[in-house]
Symmetry: C2
Subunit: 419 residues, 2 copies
């Protein structure tokens, strides 16, 4: 399998800035059949960049760099790449023309330092950036490639997809095709998924499974390499179908689905409108639902009834009910859902009340106790969950995810009985 290395450049990456570029590149390179062997972050120092290019290009035929291509004196990637390739910096006339035009079109003065951005290592192939001004390029030495991109994720991603990947396909024609199916799962741990998929790819040539945990969800990647593209795709589809059979409705989606986009699509299909009433999740469910563009088509409203007064005012719950059972109780949670649906006229709803901690727990009702109610006025349910082994943030996150997932299963049932 072809191997690539990634070098992300910039002092900030050594001082607390999270690197998201290499994670994205890891997934996308894998998708087109390249294995990432190693990732490195180094400082804005010519010698460090050059040493890493030397070491990584010895390990792998392709090195991708991000960062260090701007107009300031800190930006030293181009100089280091030129030194690595044993060449000099050369002005690229067409690029310089473009930069001048861009500034002129905006009526801006062009700082003299910007001519730096029109210099590539001599002999480099320019890679066009349609999202910004920093350029990118591909340089070759002794059959090893270094491809350099700006550090801004939006710019880097578009350039990699539109400029680099087509070049790689031409340069490294594949004798095999790779098909990938990604499944998204909620409700099993990684080891639970692992156990259920045990033996799935045994004896199937060129097939592999990989897992990626992103609490509280698990993603499974089914990868098939075959000489024939149609065959690879057929086998991957079969594996995905078998994995779905084994995992049942814990598989909520695939590829770029999110729980909220899947719930949104079900609501749209069933032509139902949603309302949510949240206490301990404090707006996380509403926020996730409205993350999805177009959610106004099916999302009516959310109420974050954090105080007891708000529960009484917004959901028509009696203070007696709260006093006799407590705000975190089966009875109050059911009443929250009923009040919500009655008052809003929404078709379906989710209600959550719980103790996220760290304070507020008792021996009878400990931190981590969460009640979730879901459904419609004709048929709804309440369930208690015990998330006490987790911290506040994770209790809230898991409660919100569980609420969305319970609604998803309810809507699937509706779809089944409607169909």
């Amino acid at each position: 399998m072809l191997e690539a290395a990634i070098l992300t450049i910039g002092d900030e990456l050594l001082e607390g800035k999270l690197d998201t570029n290499s994670a994205w590149l890891g997934v996308e390179l894998d998708r087109i059949g390249w294995r990432v062997r190693e990732v490195r972050h180094c400082r804005d120092e010519v010698a460090d960049i050059q040493r890493n290019l030397d070491e990584l290009s010895t390990l792998c035929p392709l090195v991708i760099t991000t960062g260090g291509l701007g107009p300031t004196t800190d930006d030293l990637t181009t100089l280091a790449v030129a030194r690595w390739s044993g060449t000099v910096l050369a002005l690229h006339e067409a690029t310089w023309e473009q930069i001048q035009q861009r500034f002129a079109a905006r009526g801006l003065d062009l700082p003299a330092s910007n001519i730096k951005q029109a210099h590539y290592p001599a002999g480099a192939t320019p890679l066009v950036n349609r999202e910004g001004s920093a350029v990118g390029y591909l340089v070759e030495k002794d059959g090893r490639l270094v491809a350099s991109f700006p550090g801004v994720p939006r710019e880097m991603k578009r350039m990699v997809e539109e400029e680099l990947f087509p070049l790689l396909r031409d340069r490294f024609p594949r004798d095999e095709y790779r098909a990938i199916r990604a499944l998204r799962i909620f409700g099993h741990t990684e080891s639970g998924v692992n156990k259920r998929l045990d033996g799935l790819v045994d004896g199937i040539a060129g097939a592999q499974i990989a897992y990626l945990v992103s609490f509280p969800e698990v993603r499974v990647f089914l990868k098939v390499n075959r000489a024939d593209a149609v065959e690879a795709d057929r086998v991957a589809a079969e594996l995905a179908a078998e994995a779905r059979r084994r995992l049942g409705d814990r598989v909520y989606g695939q590829d770029d689905d999110t729980l909220e986009s899947v719930v949104g699509a079900l609501l749209a299909k069933l032509e139902l409108r949603l309302a949510v009433a949240e206490s301990c999740t404090g707006g996380m469910i509403a926020s996730r639902i409205t993350d999805v563009a177009g959610s106004s088509a099916y999302f009516d409203e959310g109420v974050v009834t954090y105080s007891n007064a708000a529960k009484v005012r917004r959901l028509g719950i009696t203070t007696e009910l709260i006093e006799s059972h407590g705000a975190v109780s089966d009875e109050v949670c059911a009443a929250m859902l009923e009040g919500l649906l009655t008052q809003t006229g929404a078709d379906v709803g989710i209600a959550v009340t719980g103790i996220a901690g760290p304070g507020g727990g008792t021996s009878e009702k400990p931190v981590g106790l969460v009640y979730i109610a879901w459904g419609d006025l004709e048929g709804h349910d309440v369930r208690a969950f015990h998330f006490g082994s987790l911290k506040r943030d994770d209790i809230r996150k898991l409660a919100a995810t569980t609420g969305l997932d319970l609604l998803r299963r309810f809507l699937l049932g509706r779809l089944g009985s409607a169909g």
Copy 2:
């Protein structure tokens, strides 16, 4: 300055898993006066781990590894560290005792493979893990140190703080003390902050500034190295005071403050209760407010009035007002705040309505137009913002942050007039 390198180990880090360990280590090592020279992620392969240990320990006197310490056959860090140090694996009796006791206490059968976790490279110094079962250790060769930790962030962080840092302080006694002040800023870009702090540390011995951008906020680190601890601290405090003077109330907090924790503290201090009404931010403000433990003391409720019907129902806005001005308008936003405060009896509020896109924009009211109202019934304000250059996610995030920040400034004014 002392330099460290970080090696995070695990196939998942090359296949899309975000590495948060090295970002955290970068900040914490800097805080105690160590500069991170390089970060690497490598696969679960003994040869790759060992090669990286060789290269990194040549570069830096300290290499920190995370990951690869579990009981499974994938976990190869310990073997690689032993090979790097030219020693063998040895059973650490006390650790093995502890693992056996932990399983016995829970009434669990102990899998035979777990004995692997009680093996260290011979001569290693164990580092205690109080959060989990994977062990850690420190190994020395020719004056170079390798410190290995589990990959689980919670376990790694506690072990680094409680076990590694005291050892480093003993081992590398400092001839200088480092004082750091971190300021958190909203309302200036990085270059805006940079310009205002121009020359701040000029001529001040041992003083440095660093910036960290986390959209839409900027953090500034003021670092002072001096032989005398009191002196370092005094200079850092003076620099922070001068930076605050130059940046004014755009500095919302310091160190681990968040905008929501600062707003919460102000509400608690002023004994005011908050309610929020959100449309395009869809619950993000309520969710952030309730991220803070103890927020029930000052947060009353949130309403996510996504539909016009919800705005009418929950906030007492007339359909006529919406029809004549549109749901995204100065008039409706002000009415949302007034309705919210009237209906809830909360002391202060935030109301947001806008077009997050990508659909729903018109030439008159384009995507990115956001109205925010804030204050109390006696004194409130509405302002229009144009966030059209951003994507949906960032428009929502910036709108929520702006709303919180406007309330913060309002509360500061209240505090000023009360004091």
